[in-house]
């Protein structure tokens, strides 16, 4: 089973099992990882599941879609590695993915 590691703003790490096809947001919520709110439940409509993808994973994860890029306008501390975690689906290639949660979602 692929794994994701979430690193909180304060540095605390959470590594969880992430079934193929599930989103990075869903796995955070299911495992009670703090720092991801996901107010809209994964509709790419609220920007409260914002994460910074670890530099080492930036290429594999890829850039946000145009709609997601638009939603990122409503997030804070947006970086070139910013993604909405509800829009990242787990694949075998992403096994071991590391994402950082921002200081504040909204």
């Amino acid at each position: 089973m692929p794994k994701i590691t979430y690193i909180e703003h304060g540095g605390k790490k959470h590594t969880v099992d992430a079934p193929l096809g599930t989103t990075v947001m869903e796995n955070a919520i299911r495992n009670g990882v703090p720092g991801i709110v996901a107010e809209c439940g994964g509709a790419c409509a609220c920007a409260t599941c914002h994460v910074h993808v670890d530099e080492a994973w930036k290429e594999k994860v890829g850039p946000p879609s145009p709609m997601e890029e638009d939603m990122l306008d409503f997030a804070f501390d947006v970086k070139p590695t910013s993604r909405l975690s509800c829009q990242i689906k787990m694949t075998d290639e992403l096994d071991g993915l590391v994402v950082h949660t921002p200081a504040q979602q909204g």
């Binding site: 107010e39 509709a43 306008d73 409503f74």
Partner: protein, 347 residues
């Protein structure tokens, strides 16, 4: 702070806080039992999250409706509750809720509407929609003095040095509306693209070209000032370098988020920020105050619209007993009851 009452209190059986799908369906269930309802919502339109967060997203788990959009569901619910003529108070936030000596409730909204009701139904979903606050140090010191999330009177901003942050419709609209009165106006956004009406974007760009306003690429970094009086907004570029913007006022527009809001101050028993209820009446720890939909919690709770509908039906039975303690409730089906048909206007 709620303002002084602007008119005589409104008297009604039930006040429903929240005009989302569950609040709307509560009108129906209360209506079948002859209870009149007023509905209050902070958003300017009914529908709650369905309208604000996912109007176009399909919902697949409404029984008997294989697929419907958030907007579509709200439309159907409004049609369904029309026979009960609910009174809506939109764009208002309930600030205070107190119990009166006779056991009924007294509610006041932020714009001064006062309602007296025998029962209160909290159907506030994830709480009230409020502006997202940027994560800036000492932000609270400046809020209401130099940092504002909405513009009530354009005149208040005359002659000010204004920084508008954001790239959506609100940011663009207020940039255009405040430009004529501002001493200076800078629009700060993280990229040179805007998720706003194309017409507003071209108008904004024209103002920039005429040097009537400035546009800066960057994100909010920090505030400088004293005693809540802003002097500079410091912005950060993508390369992490910072630059100052002289400012008296900052208007951040980063959309809305849900917060529990004043509900937390009403003395109701909360569990993890949700209102604890029983599963017979969906009543809170305060008799006569019910909570249905996403805002409540109980063992086994599922945050589903269909669960909220069920909760509304049971809540209505209990609410009817509070409003009319001596009246026996005869359980009836909408398929066959002539008295229900009359209420629904289908007889």
């Amino acid at each position: 702070m709620s303002k002084a009452p602007t008119s005589e209190p409104i008297n009604t059986d039930a006040v429903i806080i929240g005009a989302g799908p569950i609040g709307l369906f509560a009108v129906f269930e209360l209506g079948l039992l002859d209870l009149k309802a007023h509905v209050i919502d902070i958003l300017p339109k009914p529908g709650g999250q369905c309208a604000e967060l996912y109007p176009e997203k399909p919902i697949y788990d409404i029984p008997g409706v294989p697929v419907i959009s958030g907007e579509g569901l709200v439309e159907k619910l409004l049609q369904q509750i029309k026979p009960f003529s609910p009174q809506f108070h939109l764009g208002e936030r309930v600030e205070s809720l107190t119990r009166q000596k006779d056991g009924s409730f007294w509610l006041a909204t932020d714009i001064g509407t006062v309602i007296e009701a025998k029962v209160v139904v909290v159907a506030a979903g994830g709480g009230s929609f409020e502006s997202k606050k940027p994560p800036l140090a000492d932000l609270a010191d400046y809020e209401g003095k130099s940092v504002f999330y909405l513009v009530r009177r354009i005149e208040d901003f005359r002659g000010k040095r204004i920084v508008v942050a954001g790239g959506g419709d609100s940011a663009l609209d207020w940039t255009l509306n405040l430009a004529p009165v501002a001493k200076s106006l800078t629009l700060l956004h993280r990229r040179d693209q805007f998720r706003a009406a194309p017409d507003s974007v071209s108008k904004m760009k024209a103002l920039v070209a005429e040097k009537k306003i400035a546009f800066e690429l960057g994100q909010l970094h920090s505030l400088e000032g004293e005693g809540g009086k802003l002097s500079r907004v410091v912005a950060r570029r993508e390369d992490k370098s910072t630059f100052p913007l002289e400012a008296d006022v900052l208007l951040p527009f980063f959309g809305l988020t849900m917060r529990l809001g004043p509900v937390a101050n009403w003395g109701l028993k909360l569990e993890d920020g949700l209102i604890a209820v029983d599963t017979e009446k969906f009543q809170s720890s305060e008799p006569g105050i019910f909570a249905i939909g996403d805002i409540n919690t109980y063992p086994g709770k599922l945050k589903l619209i269909l669960s909220g509908f069920h909760e509304a039906a049971l809540m209505a039975q209990a609410a009817a007993k509070v409003v009319n303690p001596d009246k026996r409730i005869v359980f009836q089906y909408t398929t066959t009851s002539t008295s229900l048909h009359k209420k629904l206007g289908v007889s």
